[in-house]
Symmetry: C3
Subunit: 352 residues, 3 copies
């Protein structure tokens, strides 16, 4: 879809600096864009690339406009505007509706018009697929699952029984939704399985990354709120509740019965222990282990600093004796205080 | 399956407090159970919910019986009893035996009566499936695999060649069992592949979580003992041996040639370096990196505490200089000791 | 394939100690090899097993030859030689070329002679498969993917559209290549998707572990260099570039826009924050979080030491006050210095 800078400015209500007739037909990076490609500047780390860009135009914030060597679109949120324009310029190809001959579909499945079911798909009984749902090749959908309007499963996704996804969902390849939670009860020296009887509900506009797993509830449902975005290889345990518009980066491990508030941001490879709660607007840095509830909004961190191995080894050895070190410091403080008292007494004695 | 509290007490040899004729037909949480639902109290964190419960009855320990506002079943292990009763009340629906028309089964596969092979399954040559095995949709089973009585693969599971699973196993969706271990040999500036020639053996009553991976052995087999339970997204490297009834929570990374004892508990997102051994009854806390063998039973931890980012940043900066700090403390101790000697000499001199 | 020790020595240009006519037909460990099995000694940790071996012969380094109780092959790199000999002794069984009747292949796919496409495979349009490619059961290959000569996808692998793999690649089960990166733009209280328009390119001789995920680029391609080896459950974000012959152990999380140099080694369960660069020959220890660029070659670490829980808890509590502790030490140093000045002044006064 080709357009001009001026048309984009009108469509999105923002300001053009430079030539509104510049043709725009694709996107590109600041470094490599050329021809009719529009680029963007959102992360200040890339500001130094602006001067040398050969993009047809750049989407940027007001404070960067003066330094822009080419035409630009000025907006307070360049990244969001870039996302919209990139979506316009690259409309996703619509899959043709229909059920592939190799798909196996439960007899009582309720499939709306406009649904596309690809090759090698298995769909259980009592499944309901709304208008515009896309089921990619190799997906398995268990009994009684429900998918809202326009929701897409890309390929080889597994939805276990009783998984419900709202509208406009997007689930990437290899994700497993609604598998049993890790419910085991100790019984002497062995463990017996606790049946996982709850389901899994995802709200509208939820994105689930490749090979991510979200467990069904033990008794009640696991619940993922509207607008939640989960990256790849995230693990969400049973009975977890994630509030609306929270985002979770790759490889995060969320144990069972955790409650996460709205608009939280969980950094990559973080871990959250079971049975705790994070409030709204909590931000967790990457590689941080959250071992207790964090009620207040704010940014929390807890990773160990990386260092040259030799130096790290010395520090780590000291770390194992940190408690003793703190006690030594306390002892020094006391001794010094006593000495001072003794010394001042001595001085007084002398001055008599 | 409906029953009464009294019937459950008889079946499991425990005590009723209250009305044995209360009908029980399902389970529920303390907060939400109502009607004929039985609940349980096992985790003390939920004790405060007991007073307000509307459950028909509660399974609990003797010390909680006095506070229970409704009828109850009294047992020393409420969670295990709950697991048994929940299983009774929710019998899993038996899949009809047979091979789906869309499944592809190797000609010489040895398939016992009562086996269910679902749609889109591929089974290699020389495979042996015992009585009651269930193979869910999309599973791929390599040559010479063997599955014991009643073992179930839920969906989209991959068993590579030579994987053997005992009786009553349960493997969740997306798990990959028996893939090549990470065997590479440095050869100048590049790496060459070391053939992975061993197999993989799982004992009886093993559960494997969704998207978990367990590698085959390099020369001999990787071995997972009876009763081991692995949660989702666990990685088990080649030549690992896990002892009986050990449980491993989600996202744990176990490197190659690790030996883990019996009845261990490995917390979520922990990591275990290669070529080490954990003794029996070792407990590893979540997010802990085990860098050396731990022979003695006990609880081991090693995560960095989470904190407000600003404060964490200050502490982390100091951590990078912990060795210098410890040396400063040592220097202070020496100097103070010297001063005291000097001071006492001085005092003695004066007192002459 | 059976041979003799002498034939192996000739083929690989190394020295025999002992009987060159020893027949060799398989490999084994030092502990368990017997009969015609050849073993190897590469890791010094296993040196003590050499004396008791019943292997027909052992591959080892010159310094270990004197202690070898059986015949041996002497080489500077025993593990690499073992890899080559094990490969010779265990030739992989060639899959018969052809397309299984249950596979679904896009009409315009360009499939070279000698390609094997297994059961339940789905191949999109515009796909190009070179000579000797093997596509295992259940794999899904999106539009316009290209696979080089001899590349193998074992089973249930998903290649999203526009993924290109060079020659002799090996992708293990459950891996997802080319899924959307985690591109989201904040827009008020919610997040909007940033289209992921780049592709994914893997060089020659790349191995990708089970359930590993590598995202496509946001605008330009994600690029994995020749000879790179990724273990299981690795996550590689969008726009990442990994240099040639770098190896990444299991469960590593690499965030978006990271550049990793050549010949790096990344230990298991490590994490790398987004938008940074690691130079050539950088080695990262297991469970280390890399939070900033590391330009210089060398070994870097950052894991917290594991300890008995009780002791760890005391140290962790102190760690939360490390900054205060460092300030106390500074205060002690100052005070002691002041006291010394005062004391020496006092002494001088007295000596007058």
């Amino acid at each position: 879809m080709a357009t001009t800078l001026g048309e984009l400015a009108v469509r999105y209500g923002c300001t053009v600096q430079g030539d509104p007739d510049v043709p725009i037909s694709r996107v590109g990076t600041l470094l490599d864009a050329a021809g009719e490609a529009i680029s963007f500047l959102a992360n200040p780390a890339y500001r130094k690339q602006l001067a040398a860009t050969h993009a047809a135009a750049v989407i940027l914030a007001p404070e960067d406009a003066a330094q822009c060597p080419v035409s630009c679109l000025i907006t307070d949120n360049p990244y969001a505007l870039y996302a919209r324009i990139a979506t316009d310029l690259n409309p996703s190809s619509e899959a043709a509706p229909g059920v592939h001959a190799s798909a196996v579909v439960g007899e009582d499945a309720d499939i709306a018009p406009g649904v596309c079911i690809s090759a090698k798909v298995c769909i259980g009984s009592g499944v309901r697929l709304a208008q515009g749902v896309f089921i990619g090749p190799g997906c398995v959908i268990g009994d009684r699952c429900e998918l809202g309007t326009g929701t897409r499963l890309t390929a080889n996704v597994t939805l276990c029984a009783d998984t419900r996804i709202g509208a406009r969902g997007l689930v990437h390849a290899g994700a497993v939704l609604g598998a049993d939670g890790f419910g085991i009860a100790r019984d002497g020296d062995r463990w017996i399985k606790v049946p996982q009887l709850g389901g899994l509900r995802l709200g509208d506009d939820v994105e689930v990354g490749a090979n991510t797993t979200i467990d069904r509830g033990a008794i009640e449902d696991t619940i993922i709120g509207d607008g939640v975005k989960l990256d790849n290889q995230v693990q969400v345990g049973h009975n977890v509740r994630i509030g609306e518009h929270t985002v979770v980066a790759g490889c995060v491990a969320i144990a069972g019965s955790v409650t996460i508030g709205k608009r939280c941001m969980i950094g990559g490879a973080a871990g959250i222990v079971g049975h705790i709660a994070l409030g709204d607007d909590v931000v967790i840095s990457a590689f941080t282990f959250v071992s207790h509830s964090l009620g207040q909004a704010g940014v929390y961190s807890g990773s160990m600093p990386v260092d040259r191995s030799a130096r790290w080894r010395r520090n780590a050895a000291r770390l194992r004796h940190l408690d003793e070190l703190a006690k030594k410091v306390r002892a020094l403080e006391k001794k010094l205080a006593e000495n001072e008292v003794a010394y001042s007494v001595h001085e007084k004695d002398e001055s008599k």
